[in-house]
Subunit: 377 residues, 2 copies
């Protein structure tokens, strides 16, 4: 509102209110547990339209002209896939016209239309993605994401009491933090922001505090480590007794890839009698499916035994400064060793180090690492 | 469903569920009592989309392919006026395509889009109008209107216990019955059905009974009187002491017409001192507005006094056979006289006679007339 009054053009992207989407899904499942995804999207898109219309009325009540637009009115073109479509193109004409009439334009997030002129929804993080895409096509100064936290912290402030809010963070760090379990922004919206160079600002919808900017380069000297993330929803799958011959690992992971399962840390070790064992982590909610897929293909992948361990947690540190500082991993492991925490598996990327620990050690590990890198200053 | 299984094409038009529309209106008024009509329509149209999507899922659960379409998807073109638009044109291509794929097509009633690509709603009786319009453009065999009563009765069966359900009734009789207060069908949908020769069948959504057909000509010999209607929501306005000169009545009714107020029975009588009095009835809910309009224009219309009487009821008989049977009015008046009921005002059309009585006499008048014409057989 302030921005509008300063003369800026303002586009607002809204998701459905509170539990609306969950309630609609529950109602649909009651009627038809196998309802078509096309009709699910037809149903769910009413949620954003409702909140957009009510928001336009609320802004109107303040004496500021506002107009709500749904995916048909923009229009917001997506791929055809119901329930998980991708944005393809956004027509700017209608929005531009309304902006020129000095209206605040309220756009329904999360939804689009496909080439059949049917509603689609964008899946998880959909409204953020809509906002970033609009910011990109309208060359917006910034894209503010209003959420229930007031920014990105060096660690989850509910667990690490002295966690510090970051003023800025790079896209890559944000992506790695999200993958590592920090649930503020969905990867898709960050990836799109990175691609189109849209500066994101993560802010609270409840207070007016400054938030965290997510951008390509951060102004201050790159911090060694920007944050620590904890993901308790990991599961470790071990596939044992595999034949030690080429192509076995490829077959195994191809099965998972075909079923859209993201695999994280992978560890391969030599087993007994000329065999090898492969362990990897997946999201806990996908563990059952993975086990069932692998059991079906047990012969094909020459596995003797498949086990699943859910009492594990991933602890990650993320920082763009890590690349040029070889001592970071050592410092992290030292912090864990000093606290008597055992490391099960390790995985690293250029700007991230993740360790797998017992779930009981997760929070303690996070705090120890946060202290070791003096993230609270 | 039966019709579909017999190989017929089926288009279903749905309104919003139960109290949805009222709840949405209440929510909007809470946020902004003067919300723009454009945003109200944006909000209200979610109601039909929700019920259409859920219905498609419910039919899908029975193993029958179904698809829901909203006003954008049909598209359903209307005039620009939000809250009370008129249908202009319906594109048949998309619906035709879905019918050819042997799907049951569920269309959102009550809504359309205007030339700005904004949602509009059709006002009262809107979903019935949508259904009749679709039946017209698709040359449907019949348009079934499912409602909470199972047909058109010779009188309101809640009041006249021995009222009889009519097998058939003409459009004109139906129109006069609706005007006279029988609230089953809205005039707009009947007028459209008459214009395009669409046979309507009024049926119950709760049971499978046969219902009443509304059409141009009824097969059986025309009944003298088809039904008796009672309207307790009338108000009598009297404007007294008007100058007895040309143009006064014209001025008065022009003011009301300009404000979209429907006037019913009109009575003009000679007052004292070379003046005249004009009385007429309006819908009770519009009485306040009428009084205020007339008070504002008191000088212009040369009125000395304006009074309003709300304790009145209109009782009407309707029947296509009336035209050629001069004794009908006399029989009606006789029935009222025998019951000691005083008639305040009278109005007649070719196939309707309406009398204004005190509200306390309304139900008794209805029963007496129903008996006099032996409508229960």
């Amino acid at each position: 509102m302030e921005d509008y009054q300063k003369g800026h053009d303002v586009i607002v992207v809204l998701s459905a209110m509170g539990k609306t989407t969950d309630e609609l899904i529950a109602k649909a499942h009651e009627i038809n547990p196998e309802a078509s995804k096309r009709e699910m999207d037809m149903l769910l898109t009413t949620g954003e339209q409702t909140s957009a219309a009510l928001m336009a009325m609320a802004i109107g009540a303040l004496g500021v002209p506002a107009i709500s637009l749904n995916a048909f009115q923009v229009p917001m073109h997506t791929t055809s896939r119901y329930g998980n479509a991708r944005l393809k193109a956004i027509d700017t004409e209608r929005i531009q016209h309304e902006l020129e009439e000095r209206k605040i334009v309220i756009v329904t997030g999360f939804q689009g239309i496909n080439r059949y002129e049917d509603y689609t929804t964008l899946g998880r993080g959909g409204s953020d993605t809509t906002a970033v895409a609009l910011a990109a096509v309208f060359h917006a100064d910034a894209c503010e994401i209003y959420t229930d936290v007031d920014g990105i912290y060096t660690a989850d402030p509910r667990i690490v009491k002295n966690a510090r809010k970051l003023k800025e963070i790079t896209y890559d760090e944000m992506l790695d933090l999200a993958t590592a379990g920090a649930g503020v922004l969905h990867n898709r919206s960050v990836e799109m922001a990175k691609k189109y160079g849209v500066t994101l600002v993560v802010r609270s919808s409840l207070n007016n505090s400054e938030g965290t900017a997510v951008k390509e380069e951060v102004d201050v000297e790159k911090m060694l480590v920007s944050g620590v993330a904890l993901d308790k929803k990991a599961a470790r799958i071990s596939v044992m007794g595999l034949k030690d011959e080429p192509g076995i690992a490829f077959r195994l992971f191809q099965i998972l890839a075909k079923n859209n399962i993201n695999v994280d840390i992978i560890l391969q070790s030599i087993g007994r009698e000329n065999t090898k064992d492969i362990s990897f982590t997946v999201q806990e909610e996908e563990a059952e499916e993975v086990i069932s897929l692998l059991e079906q293909n047990k012969t094909k992948i020459t596995a003797k035994e498949i086990t699943c361990q859910k009492e594990v947690a991933k602890v990650s540190i993320v920082g763009a400064g890590m690349m040029s500082n070889p001592g970071v991993a050592a410092k992290m492991f030292e912090a864990l060793y000093s606290s008597g925490i055992n490391i099960n598996m390790i995985s690293t990327s250029e700007i991230r180090i993740t360790v797998l620990v017992d779930i009981k050690d997760g929070e303690r590990a996070m705090k120890a690492i946060h202290d070791a890198f003096e993230l609270s200053e």
